[in-house]
Symmetry: C3
């Protein structure tokens, strides 16, 4: 709890949850060398799943808030991969963001920015990452956003 | 054919096909260091392509069976990457599963479990992987499922 | 400008643009070891964004032309990652191609071939890559194609 990143999280008032466990026969992350591949994290908060489609029930701002929650879950998984010490996190390497949306919705980047901005807010330059943002016609359990990540750790 | 994994496949009655060749100007897999990136494998069996959309022509159980076939193709590619010796396979690192589905289908995880469960059934703990499961409005040739993978080999 | 790959590009009459900058709080690529992860590049040319849906406003040939433009942008990013020297590019490792399409469009591979063929045309065997091609109901800014890549560099 004395780490720099933990201090920054406290400053921002962000409480990382326990790393969410996957619902099936797979694992939250796998490390190979210094790369950690984190499973897709679906949008959820203390009240449960954040469901809905962008372009229908949700607007881009609500989508960005959902994506920020995915970012919090991703960082919780990264912390678990670092055995609790986020200062071992070297870099966010890559995000792939899937946005549950209608066919006429074209603001996927604005939605995934909710996650990108959060990671840079907490990690500074180490949070800057390569990224893809795309639409999906449907996502697990009806969630609004799913984001997977690759992290570099030491 | 005396390998542990080959024995396990025989025990399960699974016959790996020859690694399916891609239909275009790309290759089934590329290895960099100990990582093998395998091209998306589409659902097919001895009778041909497994087509259809989840939420319409196919239910989750049929989708899981299709995903299992993708898993068999992925493992066939991994064997080719290991020059025939699956005991060189260290770990399944990551799966990304795309499910051809309607907009109201939300059981993508149950579908992709067909692949995840197969890999753990054959490989044990080495088969546990990070994963994303998402919907797609359409997939190549109308198939039900497409899954890509990253493997670690030695 | 005396490099082999630059000479090949000149021979093909291809002018790489300056590497397109991303529109948000992320970066065009991140390198870890000898792997370069490049952000999803959306279809655009000198006239602007190439928009539309396959199966509706665009046919597979138009889609392949759009995908070729994504390939040009990806190669421009790879050049930037190599500090301008494309001869440091060892291999195209992986492409993931997303095609904005209707639910009855099943020629995603023909579309993404526009990118695959371009990379092999320029790079020869080093351009051969693993690949996934999938449909998306919508893409950023309404573009027809988005493609991300992993390159190996030295």
């Amino acid at each position: 709890m004395t780490g720099k990143i933990e201090a920054r999280l406290a400053e921002l008032g962000v409480v990382l949850p326990d790393a969410p466990a996957p619902a099936a026969n797979y694992v939250p992350f796998v490390q190979v060398g210094d790369l950690v591949f984190v499973s897709g994290q679906i949008s959820q908060d203390a009240n449960g799943l954040i469901k809905g489609r962008l372009g229908a029930e949700l607007d881009a701002a609500a989508g960005a808030a959902a994506a920020r929650r995915c970012g919090i879950s991703l960082l919780a998984q990264a912390r678990a991969a670092c055995a609790g010490d986020l200062d071992r996190l070297v870099r966010v390497v890559k995000l792939t963001g899937f946005v549950n949306c209608t066919t006429d919705f074209s603001d996927q980047p604005k939605v995934i920015n909710g996650c990108s901005d959060f990671l840079v807010e907490v990690l500074g330059d180490a949070g800057r990452h390569s990224r893809s943002a795309v639409g999906a016609p449907a996502l697990p359990l009806g969630v609004a956003v799913e984001i997977e990540a690759i992290f570099q750790v030491k």
